[in-house]
């Protein structure tokens, strides 16, 4: 199945173990490797504090932490399921704490950001079947199969 994705490099992490949102962000920034600058992780942690990204879907809460384009070398995306839910705060309502099970962290340069890369990820995540398949996947290959090849 082809899906419209804003990037062609996509990494998967299944069952990430972490205690806090900052731990999740740092671990996933590491997975993005040379796609991001050394400053990306802390910039994303700071942005999440300032503008939380947790979204309470009916079946699972999803977070979309990210950093500004100046911390990105080249576009990429990491999709992670968490071994145990981790607390992120809710987008637009920082006092609301969500137990997040899925994290999608894009590294977008100004070009993809201008092309509404985040909006296309948000649209993608509205697919309940995709959310379920990503959560249920027992391997990273299964997560990749659920998401499908970039269109």
């Amino acid at each position: 199945m082809k899906r419209e994705l804003p990037v062609s490099h996509i990494y998967f992490v299944r069952g990430l173990t972490a205690k806090t949102d900052a731990e999740v962000i740092r671990a996933l920034a590491g997975r993005l490797g040379s796609h991001v600058k050394a400053s990306f992780a802390e910039a994303a942690v700071a942005r999440e504090k300032r503008s939380p990204t947790g979204l309470p879907f009916p079946d699972v809460a999803v977070a979309l932490p990210h950093a500004e384009p100046e911390h990105v070398e080249s576009p990429a995306l990491v999709v992670a399921s968490l071994e145990k839910p981790v607390r992120f705060r809710q987008m637009g309502s920082p006092k609301v704490v969500l137990e997040v099970g899925l994290v999608v962290m894009p590294a977008l340069t100004a070009k993809e950001q201008a092309a509404a890369g985040l909006a296309s990820l948000l649209t993608l995540l509205q697919d309940v079947e995709l959310r379920r398949a990503l959560l249920a996947a027992e391997t990273e290959a299964a997560m990749q199969a659920a998401l499908g090849e970039p269109a």
């Binding site: 503008s51 009916p58 987008m91 637009g92 509404a116 985040l118 948000l122 509205q126």
Partner: protein, 91 residues
């Protein structure tokens, strides 16, 4: 034509998704509307020119215009009720 202002933190990501969904939903109900996007911080100065304000985040005043603050267009939870509410303001 009625005008709706859709706001989010940066005016880039979430408001784009909300504006698209809202336009489709209102079209399906027979409403032709004009929808603009802005940053939440711009709402107080822009709201006066609109009939309804929809925001995913806190806004600091809407010049007396009705405000629907919701994530329903992103998560699906409560979306029908929000569309009804918005449609009510457009009549």
């Amino acid at each position: 034509m009625k005008k709706i202002l859709v706001a989010c933190g940066t005016a880039v990501a979430t408001s784009t998704v909300v504006a698209k969904k809202l336009e489709e939903a209102l079209k399906a109900r027979g409403f032709a509307v004009s929808i603009d996007q802005c940053k939440a911080s711009e709402v107080p100065s822009k709201a006066a020119a609109y009939d309804v304000i929809v925001s995913t985040t806190e806004v600091d005043g809407t010049a007396g215009k009705p405000l629907i603050r919701t994530l329903s267009f992103l998560t699906g939870i409560g979306i029908d009720a929000d569309i009804e509410k918005i449609a009510g303001f457009l009549k």
